[in-house]
Amino acid sequence: EKDKEDESKEENSSSQQNRASRRKSLQKKPGDGKKAGEEGSRQRERGKKAPTKDQKESENKERKTNKKGKEEENKQKKDRKNSTSSASSNSSDEESLSEEELAMLMEQVEQKKKLISTMRNKPWRMVKKLSVLREAQAFVEKFEGALGKGKGKKLYAYKMMMAKKWVKFKRDFDNFKTQCIPWEMKIKEVESHFGSSVASYFIFLRWMYGVNLVLFGLIFGLVIIPEVLMGMPYGSMPRKTVPRAEQATAMDFSVLWDFEGYIKYSALFYGYYNNQRTIGWLKYRLPMAYFMVGISVFGYSLMVVIRSMARNANESTADGDDDNFVFSWKMFTSWDYLIGNPETADNKFASITTSFKESIVDEQESNKDENIHLRRFLRVLANVLIICCLCGSGYLIYFVVKRSQTFSKMQNVGWYERNEVEIVMSLLGMFCPPLFETIAALENYHPRIGLKWQLGRIFALFLGNLYTFLLALMDDVNEKLAEEDVVKNITRWTLLGHHNSSVENGSTATPPPLDPADVPRGPCWETTVGIEFVRLTVSDILVTYITILVGDFIRACFVRFVNYCWCWDLEAGFPSYAEFDISGNVLGLVFNQGMIWMGSFYAPGLVGVNVLRLLTSMYFQCWAVMSSNVPHERVFKASKSNNFYMGLLLLILFLSLLPVAYTIMSLPPSFDCGPFSGKKRMYEVIQETIELDFPLFVAKIFSYVANPGLIIPAILLMVLAIYYLNAVAEAYQRANTELKKKMQMQREEEKNKRNNKASTNPMLQDLEDLLTPGTKSESHPKQAEDKKTESPTRTSPVGKHRKAAPLNGIPMTGGRGAAFTPPPHMFMRQPPTLGVWAPYPGQPRPRGHPPGPVLGRGRGQPRY
């Protein structure tokens, strides 16, 4: 009943509001909707007529104004009481009036349109929304044609039509786009079982898949395909042929598995590419394309990561560490509305209960010193332990890498010796995170903060591992570079000798070319690096999958089926089921991506491997998590601002950019493999292109731009800009905290004042209560209620009254704005009430809600 009443009231108010605004714009429009409609149709007729008789423009105009005049008179008759004075003044200068009217109408139509576009943000019932929407649409339909005049009319109509089409197209496109988002249902299912934190991992995985698809498209379309289609065919030149010595075993699986043999000399790796400047009939500049794609892989990734970070930052309004609302937030936001699984719900209930109990205990004895000391001690202890672990793992990798260098000099080493580094790294990645988690249990952080710590630690571990690995690789590369000089001479001599021998034979014909398989090769360090990265990636994939299979699936099977005949309860006791390890998985993904970024320059096929990996892992992990994991014991929600993942990704991107940039800028490319062979440095391909393919002045400009005299000031300028923007941001931050403090103080003050008043002069209070007339107490609740139902929309009527007031799409202007506009004066005006701490529940309190002038502005006066 109450709701219905509410609704009818709303209905009433909205129609009234429409009426008011219409009256205001058309100045003497009859209040009745039907009449308005009639008039509208007439007006529309006019609008229709106008474009058809365009040539008789002036006449038409005259007629129109005449008609308008008549109408005006009619209207005047209809509601003389309403606005006689304005009508008489209007009839005096018709021309200006119609223009003014049109402008007003236009504005109104715009407003209606805005209303239509923000309809979904209104907290109304669907029935009402639909009816208001229909009304608004009808209004727009009616009056749209009437807008614009003369020649402008046609243009306006056209513009409107295009706008409509555009909206429709956009909507269709959005529909299409949402249909294209893969795995939506899968993720939703996981979400409902495990809460939003686990789902956030899968969303991240999906995002990563999208990014990798783009990278794959870039590399595949611009580098691999052209080389395969238009480049020299396989076997035509040394770099594309398996050397004679390896040919016997080149197809063995054990060799292929190590990415040697045929795979090593395929388009998957750097060495396959030819240094021919242009290939095919398209004159495709492959070395240039290779270089540019290598750069744009990084450029695109940077752009995407930063853009999504910025978007997340915009979305997250919360500053999180506000201590003011501990209990309120716990009360109102602790439930995860996405949970749809009884087990998860049980866990959630339990965790909410304990968190309430904890904070109540904290509140009751907030100054418990020894507890804090103990906790601090434990936290320090945990950190010390973890640093020890990190150092240990770093040393272990260093040791293994050193050993592998001695192994690599020996012949006949076994499988384990060859793969020791990868195995040790994978094992460390497998066992350290759980160890960290165990240690982190000492610290007793909130799970969300705990997750961040955990992520940070594992990040440090992986980073240490990765960089040790890189250093070892650099050693390797330097060795190869030294070796190369020797081989270069040998190759030259071989070729020369072959040539000479054919000359000596006295045959005038061109000598039969040396078989490409017989030409001595350099070590081609780029391909070696690429192979290392591919191997690391593949072993990482395997370890991940095996961990899931053994650690989750087999364990779950064991627990589930052996439980019938075991001494203790396996499900509740020691092994139990595995939880989904969010931090480990996220970091695995991030590091994997770092490896891809680093390796993709030297192994263009790596991104393809990664796309496959992400695709399979989406299905595999979804299956694993649904089949063999249990929800977290302390279920917590992922915050929408998951910039933390993105921050990690950005850091990794930067760190993986460094070694690649270093090799490009300062290592000489191999002399007999890859697109840059024969150049001193890889980046010379750009200079070459500019010199040979562009007009001279471009080269000049380029040389000026590349001048350090210009680059250093540019960098300086950027640094200064960063400094300035940083300072500005800091100032805003300060202002923000200042405002917050002020608000807090105001609140406290208000509270104190109120308490004092309530305790000191209840007499005055009583008096005031007596003085309020009965009528007032009747009208106030209505107003308050009205305000409640309409408050989110209150910007729109304001906008209608004030011509220039911009209607921003969302009513109530964002969270931040709302947080910053405390109307303290509103509180001041509120008359003191009795019994602040003991309200009568259920009883309407007429004076409880301040009829603040700020809020009431849109509404004007009470309308009864």
């Binding site: 669907m126 500053d319 999180g320 301040p850």
Partner: protein, 180 residues
Amino acid sequence: MGNKQTIFTPEQLDAYQDCTFFTRKEILRLFYRYRDLAPQLVPLDYTDKPAVTLPYELIAGMPELKDNPFRQRIAEVFSEDGDGNLTLDDFLDMFSVLSEMAPRDLKAYYAFKIYDFNNDDYICKSDLEKTVNKLTRNELTPEEVRLACEKVIYEADADNDGKLSLEDFQQMIIRAPDFL
């Protein structure tokens, strides 16, 4: 199953898309979800807007709401008659507001309504107690519940009338990191 076009007219679909945060496909999917709750009650033809209402018992059985402690309140807030019985319009409304596309202000408004158990437009102490009890399945002692409620009111009640108005609630919840 009928052809997609016969369930709603294109105008209806457009209107629904204007009024909710959903795309056409999602609206149809929701319609089927709605229909699956009671295939014998809901017709496949909505072009003439039949007045079908599904009782609360059916709505509460949905997996999305089944485990939610506030399911009854949610259904009540979104139902036209206040008893938790939903028409298709109400149903779409509910999912639109609860969807992740909805802005926080709208969500805050409806969250306020949901937590306002006695519909008096304020969240008073009895509402808070009910909320706590639902959240913890009555596992806190009355003393603890009372304390928690007092703390909430102390924290969030800006105008000091002993209960939370919509403004108080919005001020508080908009800044919550967990409020999605």
